[in-house]
Amino acid sequence: MDFALSEEHRLIQAAVREFAAKEILPVAADLDHHPRFPAEIIARAASLGLLGLNVPQEYGGAGLDGLANVIVQEELARASAGVQTIITVQNSLVCDPILRFGTPEQKSRYLPRLATGEWLGCYCLTEPEAGSDAMAVRTRAEQRDGQWVLNGRKLFVTNGLEAQLAIVYARSEPAPGARGISAFLVEKSFPGISVGRVEQKLGIKCSSTVEILLEDCRVPAENLLGERGEGARVALSTLDGGRIGIAAQAVGIARACLEDCVAHAQARQQFGRPLKAFQAVQWALADMATRIDAARLLTYRAAWLRDRGDRCTAEAAMAKLVASETAMWAAHRAVQLFGGYGYIQDYPVERYFRDAKITEIYEGTSEIQRLIISRQVLDGR
């Protein structure tokens, strides 16, 4: 067992860390206070190859493994969880399922556009009645004149405002639950797809979160992603990867908390001593560092398993559960350690606090992660 990163992984980490520090961090607070899509940063990220990290080079991607993806996501999230959300959705929820389940024609049409950042993608699973119960999808897909016709409403779609491509899950078969669902590649230019309500959020504000409306949306037959009725398999496999990306995001947020707390503990004087001289502060920082390291190792392990082609559903859930709860806990401690300064917008820790919360919710709440892990523990599935 070797815990050392390879030379490539180290160089990728260094390059993305520099990109994040010089080009994202200086605008991170402004993107939060005045939410807007960071088009220039996303274009720059695309030029560095960060929008198609795992897409093979023959399709215009960087051809990296999943471990490289989590290294990149942590660095991006350390600077701005909002910017990172946009990028991780593109990689894990859009490129990944096309790569795993797409036909050669679908890969040729979509992956080069996504990997180069010409197109942004979004992932449409959640519905008003299908949140944690994701397989209760009600959006319908019917075959008409050799095409699929989609009708329904999708909620909480990240990147939905800017995306040119949506992966949409809809019920194509009469079977209930997971068995009747299919996945579709829906271009925004297809008739019948539109953006509904734009949500105002607590955190990750520069990424859009919208409602996607499907009203007699016509999708060519060849845009079925994966087998007919096998959408649940596409969705669940995709979420394994997505959760590993969220775990990396949470590690990045938690690391931001720790690094800012360390700097503050060294600089801030109270009772004639720097904060770092107080044992309560030392122990808080020690706990933060330990929990972050544990979360990162679980995240790396899950990515490594997925790279090997092994089933990693429980391990991805464990990584996301531990990392997201670590991020929320670390942010809570960070605000407390900063005191009044932690509660005002002049310092970034209140942003970390708001950003951290989403990691316990999206792509499966902590409760759902525990459900997944308990199934593995109790039933071995």
């Binding site: 030379e7 260094a14 390059a15 520099e18 990109f19 990290l53 080079q57 960087a62 990296l64 990149v72």
Partner: protein, 264 residues
């Protein structure tokens, strides 16, 4: 055009001061356990070379003198940024050597390399700041030398380079082969490598030459031009001075004090 860029690896100059230490036995900076990076101006030199290659094509070779085992990251980074191949002169003593000895070994390595039109290096290293390698290298190679080069202005017909000077710049016409010692400006900020290129950099050739082979070609070792007897850390002291008077008087006194301290 064949361009060679000399890269030196130094302990990351952005490390906090508490990580800076002197080895009392060698009177050199302790490198063990510290991250090594490409010396700041050498990265600018590489950027100038890559921009020239982007404009007119050619080949960029990076040349480094140092322990091969510790040179991997710097070489891979340079190749990922766009250099075509690398030569490592494997020299475990390199961190002990000063500019004159280094210039002699680099010149020998360049002769062994054979073809080159331009040799670029940083105008000074981030650790010793001697500013001698460029000119001594040019002398050893019997090549032209321009120092404090910030950019290459023109390449067709004649080579025109911009040399930074006090309150302006010189435009210098150079005939290759030439050595350019590069300084930084906004035009040569080192590019970030694309992640894809970090992966493909592995496929580019890296030649490792034992220093003994190169030193043999360098001929007789010259006298040790510089001997370092002792290196000490500067003492940092801080004191606080209060200026009195109304704000106008305080401002005037502040300006005067800053002038006295040669900070203005």
């Amino acid at each position: 055009m064949d361009i060679v860029v000399c890269l030196k690896q130094v302990v990351d100059p952005e490390l906090p001061a508490r990580d800076f230490a002197i080895d009392p036995a060698t009177q050199r900076q302790v490198r063990e356990g510290r991250p090594l990076v490409i010396s700041t101006y050498d990265e600018n030199a590489l950027e100038v070379a890559l921009q020239l290659k982007d404009r007119i094509g050619g080949k960029v070779t990076v040349l480094t003198l140092g322990p091969a085992a510790a040179s991997g990251d710097a070489i891979r980074l340079a190749l990922a940024m766009g250099a075509d191949e690398a030569v490592v002169v494997d020299d475990s003593e390199a961190p002990q050597r000063l500019g004159a000895a280094k210039a002699r070994l680099l010149a020998a390595a360049l002769r062994r390399l054979g073809r080159f039109d331009l040799v670029l290096c940083g105008c000074e290293s981030a650790d010793w700041v001697e500013r001698v390698v460029g000119p001594l290298l040019a002398e050893a190679l019997q090549a032209a030398c321009v120092t404090f080069v910030s950019r290459i202005e023109q390449v067709d017909g004649t080579l025109l380079v911009r040399r930074l000077a006090d309150e302006g710049f010189h435009l210098v016409e150079v005939r290759p082969p030439a050595v350019l010692a590069v300084t930084s400006d906004e035009s040569n900020r080192p590019r970030l490598p694309k992640v894809k290129d970090i992966m493909t950099a592995r496929r580019k050739p890296v030649h490792t030459w034992p220093v003994a082979e190169v030193a043999g070609q360098a001929g007789e070792e010259g006298p040790l031009e510089v001997e370092v007897r002792q290196v000490t850390l500067p003492e940092r002291t801080a004191r606080c001075e209060f200026l009195s008077g109304d704000p106008g008087e305080q401002a005037a006194a502040l300006v005067q004090r800053l002038r006295e301290l040669k900070l203005l």
